[in-house]
Amino acid sequence: MPLLIDSAPDCIVHKEHYSGDDLADFILQDNYKDCAGFGTFMPGSTYGEDGSGAETLYMILTWVGIVVMVVVLVAWVLYENRRLIGAVAGVSAAGTPIEGVFAPTAPQEPPLQSGTAGDDR
């Protein structure tokens, strides 16, 4: 018996020991022989009930996931906005943002590259 949460669906039976008859091509399938949807918190549909929707904890779990996803997206926008404001404030306090970021470089005029701007194609 699980210590905290029994999330296994009811279609799964719990046999004490396996017998040789349970084993099919290395799969211990007897505990699951009536089970189709076998995931945690799923309703435990059985063979022949293909496509039934969950009405129990599984649906609640799904909606928890949807809510968390939306909250994360909103929080992400707010968090990035705060970081960008902080970055702008930081460079404003330190003077022009360009200083210290761009290193001085001597002008160069290498040969024109084919396909770049200025090409006469």
Partner: protein, 477 residues
């Protein structure tokens, strides 16, 4: 009597054999789609490498992170909404004939709390098929991501990626990339390997976003002439494209339906027969023609030569299930040349700053690919109503996809622009996104002293500092 019993036993054996075959077929299909998913990850490794190489050093890390985080947001949104959109909205608006319930059973598999859309011992296919479509979703988002680098906010991109990857493209896929979609049922719309369904729509969406986002600071002179920001690592970009190409074979393969118990074993997305060899041949001929067309049209420019390969493949994807190899080769060559000129037109005439040429390569070629089917592959029965492919059907599909992609991208970006969450502040853009959003010195020490050059419209290279400072007040934010 005995004869009857023997016959019954024979029937039972046949039935058992058929059941076994079906079971084997499902397990084979499960494995097949699983491995296409694994290989399609290369597309995203490629997009990351491609875009990071194109970016200036000061934005390299931000560009790479943007690509990786695509997976973090498009995956859950596609799980919670995208698969439902595909499976439950194929009839489209409930008007006219053929708003069928063809997809009623499949619709169950698209609802996130359905027991067939989770661990299920009686359904091997739904989850791996979902994953293949999910990888297509990442691709659509990645198509947009390269175009908007170096000035879009990370979260603006992520929200747009959710809209494009989990709503827009999958809605057009429901309508025109399934045997039961209304475009297919009523008009014989045919886009077998998703020229328009994935690439065209993503390109149109991207164009809408770019109109609102505006160019990078310093991209254009006061006279409207285009400057060039040099890729900080062209080799990384070319390697990225090669990775994308490799992943595209898996993309192509995942667009087929595997049916190993019936001859010829494969069907296109509309359930019409084809073979794996056919599409593999066309993608390869598409690369060959695309590289060639891109090379000559750009006069040997490496970026456009390799991008030409991508353009060529996209242009032949819609008819890749039926095209003759030579036809694929010629179409790809001509299309890649068109892509080069389209990219030039978009940059210099339209003054749209598309950093990677995504609108030209994916958008223009996606729509051109749909058009080519109407010209060169009309008369193929498509969809469960067996309506022939035709130029009319293709034009209707194009007329549906263009506003769906463009207007969604345009107005979503418009709203985000009004909320001031679309673009980074000019100060951040000038200092580099890596400096503001990450700890670049920890990962990329060279970012602190980029010393970058910029290519003026006349081809001369000058230090970018003075140019960007002067252009800072010109940018429309």
């Amino acid at each position: 009597m005995i004869g009857s019993l023997i016959a019954q036993v024979g029937n039972l054996k046949d039935a058992a054999s058929a059941a076994g075959q079906t079971q084997d077929s499902l397990i084979l299909g499960e494995q097949y789609y699983f491995f296409t998913v694994v290989l399609m990850w290369l597309i995203h490794a490629g997009f990351m490498s491609y875009e990071t190489g194109v970016a200036r050093k000061k934005n390299a890390l931000a560009t790479a992170m943007k690509n990786i985080l695509t997976i973090a947001v498009v995956t859950p949104t596609f799980y919670y909404f995208g698969w439902w959109i595909y499976n439950c909205n194929q009839p489209g608006l409930p008007i006219g004939p053929n708003s069928s319930d063809f997809t009623a059973l499949a619709c169950q598999g698209g609802i996130p709390w359905s027991d067939t859309f989770g661990p299920n011992l009686t359904n091997n296919i739904n989850l791996v098929f979902f994953l293949a479509f999910l990888l297509f979703s990442w691709t659509t988002a990645s198509i947009m991501s390269g175009a908007i680098i170096e000035r879009a906010r990370l979260t603006a991109y992520l929200i747009l990626a959710c809209a494009l990857g989990s709503v827009v493209w999958i809605l057009d896929a429901a309508w025109g990339w399934s045997a039961g979609g209304w475009l297919t049922l009523r008009f014989g719309f045919h886009d077998s390997i998703a020229s328009g369904v994935v690439h065209g729509v993503a390109g149109a969406f991207t164009l809408g976003v770019l109109f609102q986002l505006g160019p990078r600071i310093g991209k254009y002179t006061r006279e409207g002439l285009a400057r060039q920001f040099r890729p900080h690592n062209l080799h990384m970009t070319l390697l990225g494209l090669m990775l994308i190409f490799t992943g595209f074979y898996a993309f192509y393969a995942a667009c087929l339906v595997i049916a190993s118990t019936a001859f010829p074993g494969w069907a296109n997305i509309y359930l019409s027969p084809t073979t794996l060899g056919t599409i593999a041949m066309i993608i390869t001929m598409g690369f060959a023609g695309g590289f060639t067309g891109g090379y000559f049209a750009s006069r040997g420019d490496p970026f456009w030569t390799v991008s030409g390969g991508l353009a060529g493949v996209i242009s032949v994807s819609a008819g890749a299930d039926v095209y003759a190899p030579t036809l694929g080769y010629l179409i790809a060559m001509a299309s890649a040349a068109i892509a080069v000129y389209a990219g030039d037109f978009i940059e210099r005439k339209m003054r749209v700053d598309d950093a990677v040429g995504a609108v030209a390569v994916h958008g223009c070629m996606g729509f051109l690919g749909m058009f080519w089917v109407g010209v060169f592959a009309a008369g193929y029965p498509t969809g469960v109503n067996n309506v022939d492919s035709s130029i009319g059907g293709q034009l209707i599909g194009m007329a549906t996809f263009l506003p769906l992609g463009f207007l969604t991208g345009y107005y979503m970006s418009w709203v985000m622009k009004k909320l001031n969450i679309l673009r980074v502040p000019p100060e951040v853009e000038l200092m580099g996104l890596d400096n503001a959003e990450y700890v670049p010195n920890l990962y990329l020490p060279e970012v602190a002293t980029p010393g970058e050059l910029i290519v003026e419209p006349d081809g001369t290279m000058v230090p970018s500092e003075a140019v960007l400072l002067a252009a800072r007040d010109e940018v429309v934010v």
